[in-house]
Assembly symmetry: C2
């Protein structure tokens, strides 16, 4: 049972619809272009990971108001019958150019641009921002964790404290895109095909009362998939008992996959537990750690010499705790032939339809980006925004999750190490093309 | 279109199911009690608002695995046929005692306690935490905003940057519980009956090019519901134009409801805009402000003398930016006759089935709370946990949203002002009853 909505067209700010009604009354139907971009870097961010496009396109390609949506709008005593009748048949008939999911991008660069009759393009604003903000924010946070882990495996443990059900699924999806190995989220496994992982909580150990009996019972139920949680009473005593179980499993031809630490000074404990396991001949039994991990704590513990093979990364990644939102906006940049610049204090945007050009060296490593107009070419640079939807229809099936994951891995590898530091990264060079600069001068005069 | 799941039983951490499988193998079916509580206060929090119970109970009362869920679990090669067959028919058959939605509570106090056969009670963990964490966190954040606004109206503007679709709806619901007047979220209006609010964005003004023509067109479309956004070019010039429109509307028997500020030094601007409107005879036209508001900025601007009648409160409330998660846990506290205490470093919990008792003065104002055992009475104190579900069935229909909103308002009014300060609140006095202390000694020995 869930009260999640079947359709999400009304998941929009009311002003999208009141503006649309006024455009309708004033017969304004010229093509408009809206650009989605991030205005500034949150603390310690120097790059972003584009994500959420598949969901956004799915939503846009199927956009239509249901009968009950229209009945509700009618009940608000706000809209004319003519306008409601117009909404009944409204579909998105325009086009979208976007960065590939998994692509690295920077401040001010369009993540996607929507072009279509102004009403149709306007009403997409809220859900496009919502979808792309959450997924890009999580993919970015997860990329930082993967980078900090320097090759060690990460598992998404965040479901219990993500902001709701939708976020729980999207965090699993986007942490996987960024290189996490698995998730604890079973529904994400079912829906997205992501590997799932998990064994036991403290309540399991407590319910038995006797720790080694709990371990033994679990190993009996899961002879091939046992990771023992060893900190319920005393971590080192727990490790000794786990070693006994590991030897028992080995005698039966099985194998203790790992032990999990969840509290205390995990750097020191991991070293001592490693010794206990090694001395018991369990060199292949891995040490798994969880409890308040994020990129900062992972980096610190690895630096301190922790003997940890894999990390469960939960709440702080799942809510992007040090940057729980991006300053992401969806701005009108062109209406008809006229480039548009918003000039409110501190909130200027780049006018005109744009393209992002990336310059790379002979090994494919990023050198710099140039934001230009949508119709120019920049020599020696690759345009990144590609048409993904035209006349309201997707141009091709979305890439698979594995393809997106590979796209991210390749793009991230090409980004210089200097920009990946966890604290105080430098600004990646992003210039405006001469042509786009001319557009800005024209739009601001 | 949405890829949100129809059913959420698999929205659980895998370990809930592996533990359940091991309990099943070991024929462990004694009644267990799990307690949901918050272990510590996030920065600047000194109270919490209980929320999310309606959704949690709806989920629990309808809990069952679907055929496709079971087929997926089978495909993971983790579970025995016997266990999967058991899951096919599993329902929650136990009971739940909980705080009313909208109730104020404190650290370590159970928000709800679930008692039932251990497997049934264990598998509810992830979604119960997820639901109650999000909703209580938002209700708490929104309560702080309402308190800071000191009687001025607040509108939820957060949808575009909430963590996904589910969060967008739950933020609207819980900010309304805490006293917000309305939301911009149209679907929340449809689903929950919350008043909706909103008029125009900068893109609307920009698309016309001429600001006063945009204002005039909007007033024509919405003669009874116009709030004009006046900062697209120059706020004071925008206010002058809005005053002209207000006078035009008045001549036709209409009324300009308000103007909205969205950038710049809004304290000073609000004072100058107030003068402009008053001099034009538009004393009833309100000033509405938005842009990065949270409880801190609201309090600061009111303190500085801003002339603002209502605030649009968005992202920072909708993601609870200064405390984007609670340290909320669901812990086994009793198994059979045995009270259980987890003793991992720094993560101790109170053992045993509990009750929260609240002592109030003759005017109903809170004096102190006592956490006791579930079967005791504390003289002169009101027990707060009430049975809400028994033998797997809800005991009564949930209260309406208006009733929950009133419950919150009454509970919040009874909390002393000292505990409501926005920064560095003192600790509200919460004691353990002598009987509960005895249980702790027994469980820790």
């Amino acid at each position: 049972m869930t009260d999640l909505p079947e359709r999400v067209e009304l998941l929009t700010d009311l002003y999208e619809l009141t503006m649309a009604a006024s455009y309708f009354d004033n017969k304004m139907a010229d093509p408009a272009t809206f650009s989605l971009f991030i205005r500034k870097y949150p603390p310690n961010r120097g790059y972003f990971v584009a994500a959420g496009l598949e969901d956004a396109l799915d939503y846009i390609a199927n956009f239509h108001f249901s009968e009950t949506d229209l009945a509700y709008l009618d009940s608000t005593d706000t809209f004319s019958d003519d306008f409601l009748h117009y909404l009944e048949n409204m579909r998105f008939t325009g086009g979208i150019r976007a960065l590939a999911e998994g692509e690295i991008f920077f401040r001010d660069e369009p993540i996607l641009e929507v072009t279509g009759p102004i009403i149709e393009a306007q009403v997409l604003e809220t859900l496009v921002i919502n979808t792309m903000n959450l997924q890009s924010m999580i993919a970015t946070k997860a990329a930082r964790c993967v980078h900090a882990a320097a090759g060690r495996r990460l598992v998404d443990f965040s479901l219990r404290r993500t902001h709701g059900i939708d976020a729980g699924l999207k965090v699993a999806r986007n942490s996987y895109i960024a290189g996490f190995a698995a998730t604890s989220n079973v529904l994400a496994g079912k829906l997205y095909g992501i590997p799932i992982s998990g064994t036991m909580a403290h309540s399991y150990i407590s319910s038995f009362g006797d720790e080694i009996e709990a371990f033994r019972a679990f190993a009996r139920s899961f002879p091939k998939k046992t990771v023992l949680l060893i900190d319920t009473y005393d971590t080192l005593a727990g490790a000794q008992k786990a070693a006994v179980i590991g030897q028992e499993m080995a005698k039966k031809g099985g194998k203790l996959l790992g032990v999990r630490l969840d509290s205390g000074d995990m750097t020191r404990l991991s070293q001592e537990v490693r010794n206990i396991l090694d001395e018991a001949g369990l060199r292949e039994t891995e040490i798994f750690a969880s409890s308040s991990f994020d990129e900062y704590k992972i980096a610190r513990m690895i630096n301190d010499g922790a003997k940890i093979d894999a990390f469960g990364v939960g709440t702080k990644m799942g809510v992007s705790a040090d940057a729980p939102y991006f300053d992401i906006v969806y701005k009108l940049v062109q209406y008809g032939e006229r480039p548009i610049m918003k000039r409110s204090t501190g909130k200027v945007n780049l006018a005109g339809k744009k393209q992002v050009f990336r310059k790379t060296d002979s090994q494919g490593r990023f050198i710099e980006d140039v934001i230009g107009t949508s119709d120019e070419t920049v020599e020696g640079a690759t345009p990144l925004l590609e048409p993904v939807l035209q006349d309201g229809k997707p141009l091709k099936p979305p890439p698979t999750l594995e393809e997106i994951r590979q796209h991210f891995a390749k793009s991230f590898q090409a980004l210089g190490e200097a920009y990946k530091v966890l604290e105080g990264p430098p600004s990646y060079p992003v210039k405006l093309s001469p042509r786009l600069s001319v557009v800005q001068k024209a739009a601001s005069s």
